[in-house]
Subunit: 437 residues, 2 copies
């Protein structure tokens, strides 16, 4: 054991190890870039041939990871492939595959388990396997470890298994993969040590915890905290609205308290691949222990009801102008689930668009980060982003500010819109064409 | 109007105004001290003759406001009195009276309304009245303003009315009355301007908001945020506990995320005169608008159930040692509702003590800040704080760490306690005599 452990740690530390990363999306790709930057040989795996082809020809498919950054490494230090048998070549394998929810809001581990099953034949002793996908406490110990050990590799001696949750925040100008501290928990103390050796090469600070399940819960707690805090201000928005108080003003005032308060802002609902999904992984697992996660349920309920609240505000505001939703021309500003990114996964803007279409509205959208309405599993619009001009703005009965990208020209919008339903508190309410939602 | 307004603002700015403060407790006394420090003449009002007598003889009854600070001003610039008729002498009147809940968890404004009714005969034109007591949105406009105007003083012209919530945080070493920004909302724009003139003399930063009700909701939101976040980690503690995960470790790891997460820590319940009470002021008012405040209700339910959870942990831990609660000697560490303060109002430690006594335990407590169990409306113990020594510690079957004051000698406690039920995550669980609750 000591030999395998020492040899692996040495290879990780002197950067002669080959690193494999499975899943080249928002998480895997920036991480892969970090390993390239510090000198490792990296094999990038993805089931999506089009992604592998793009990378091979030096292109990027993620807005904030420019091709210029990747190009110097491609086919040199970094080889993209769909061929999982090449896992046999790597010393470290990092799984960055999605962990969505099923239609019944249960954990869908099919990508994790499917990947593990596919790579099992190519796992070998003296390697480390790290799972980064957000999941419930126990996944690494209960799902990964037994599969690997059934294959004849003893975790902690032959092979080292860790959970180290991704903390990517696309669009965050202040923090990057390198500067975001990385939590790491091992199945055994030796596993943890290998995990630290793996990550301390590419991130400034590794935060060790006592177990894989503590690391798993850490990531969930971070996103539960966000979901609940956003749920709270969304509920408060409805209360304040009824009382005729501008909650955005109240939050800004509360945020001047230099301790004990942190501002979260209401919106038209939550989106992306983390906040609407991750908390329910804990809800599901907690049922096994006979406990309810009531804050998670309540936050989920309120956050997912927000698009309906926005719809009611739109209908009310149009009605005040003697118009119905049915037949109105409505432009949604911002398709992405949060500002300044190009990601529209689980975006409440899409839910609002669909509902308005169902009600008979003629729907358009504009998003400087998303030129064409993307292919989605559950949603379909044949639309391109409308270019905002004095004329194009004036053509709509109602504009809905769903996502407040910095790139929007708010002065232009305000000057020419007949009606703006503002879900982000971006406009002062004083103007007669502004309604807060 | 302009004359009254200008004269008052001038007197406030050149500090020739006389300031009256009603309610000389945790809020009123430090504020009064600030007005003294910057040179105002101040009259301090309290219905409690013993407080007035103490102050008159240069004594303080609040641990973190030492008598030496008050003494130089007493009967010189600062006159304490119970005589409300002297409101006739003041240019500014600040109300810092309590706003508790009734037994049925409804707002009890009797101190605010009672005070207003008592001072009505002495109100006069050219003065400003500020309410600092936490309350629901609308109190200033709906309860104070009509009473004052019925007396013949027009708000905004004859007299100026504002709401400016207190933000005191006793025991906070980093912020004081002067350095905590102060939110201020007026019934009219002129009222707001006078409010700013009143407070900018004694606090570094005044934060104006557009209305009294926005200021009222600001304060509630701050404390609702705390109540909900503490409720969330308390629920998570129970979940983590069932899963065999140390939530304190998880929270510390999550807190290394440099954005999007703020640590709150679980405990045996919440106490003090703010967090357990204030949120329900909004709940009550929201009912008038037909809206539910579900996060507030859930947080209240979970937070108030925590003492029962602690009791079950104590009973379990004693049982594992073949002991019953009935007949056990139990020492509660920390009576105060939070660390390093001498305030035991609404403290969950007291609820735990009562419940254990009801179950037949022999109860003692120790608190370096509270030498004798204080007189409380709803609780009664004839106890003095036990001095912690090797011998005294060893005499107890169980110690319950309810409040983790810095003054406790944790090494001594750990070395000699037979059993410690730790509600604050202060001890590592490795020792056999430690149980986390």
């Amino acid at each position: 054991m000591t030999d395998r452990y020492s040899r692996l740690v040495t290879k990780l530390k002197d950067r002669t190890a080959t690193v494999g990363i499975i899943g080249l999306g928002y998480v895997g790709l920036p991480l892969l870039l970090r390993y390239c930057e510090v000198g490792y040989r990296v094999i990038g795996f993805d089931v999506d041939q089009s992604k592998v082809d793009a990378l091979r020809s030096g292109k990027s498919y993620i807005e904030h990871i420019p091709a210029e950054k990747l190009a110097p490494f491609v086919m040199n230090q970094f080889e993209p492939t769909t061929d999982l048998s090449r896992v046999a070549e790597v010393d470290a394998l990092i799984l960055c595959v999605p962990t969505p929810l099923s239609k019944h809001r249960e954990p869908d581990l099919s990508f994790v388990i499917g990947t593990i099953d596919s790579v099992l034949p190519y796992l070998h002793d003296g390697m480390v396997l790290s799972l980064e996908s957000t999941t419930y406490p126990g996944t690494t110990d209960e799902e990964l470890k037994p599969r690997i050990e059934a294959r004849g590799l003893k975790v902690g001696t032959d092979i080292f298994l860790i959970f180290s949750p991704e903390r990517e925040d696309p669009g965050n100008p202040n923090f990057s993969t390198r500067t975001i501290p990385k939590v790491c928990g091992g199945c055994t103390p030796q596993c943890l040590k290998v995990g630290i050796a793996l990550y301390e090469q590419v991130v400034d600070k590794v935060v060790p915890v006592s177990s894989a399940r503590a690391a798993e819960l850490t990531k969930l707690l971070e996103n539960i905290h966000r979901s609940v805090n956003i749920g709270l201000v969304n509920e408060m928005k409805i209360v304040a609205d009824r009382m005729g108080i501008d909650l955005h003003e109240v939050i800004r005032a509360a945020a001047t308290k230099p301790f004990g308060f942190v501002p979260y802002y209401p919106g038209p609902g939550i989106g992306g691949h983390c906040i609407p999904i991750d908390p329910f992984y804990l809800t599901w697992k907690a049922r096994e222990y006979g406990v309810h996660t009531r804050f998670i349920e309540l936050a989920g309920e309120i956050n997912s009801s927000m698009p309906e609240y926005v719809i009611s505000k739109i209908a009310e505001s149009l009605n005040a102008r003697k118009k119905s939703v049915n037949g109105s021309r409505i432009l949604v500003l911002g398709l992405a689930y949060k500002k300044n990114v190009d990601d529209s996964r689980e975006s409440p803007a899409v839910v609002i668009m669909e509902r308005l279409r169902d009600l008979g509205a003629s729907i358009s959208y504009t998003d400087p980060h998303i030129p064409v309405f993307p292919v989605m599993r559950a949603h379909s619009f044949s639309l391109s982003s409308v270019t905002l001009t004095k004329q194009s703005i004036a053509e709509f009965d109602c504009l809905v500010l769903a996502t407040d990208h910095d790139k929007f020209d708010y002065e232009l919008i305000k000057a020419h819109a007949e009606l703006i339903v503002d879900c982000r508190g971006r406009f002062a309410e004083s103007a007669s064409n502004i309604v807060k939602a």
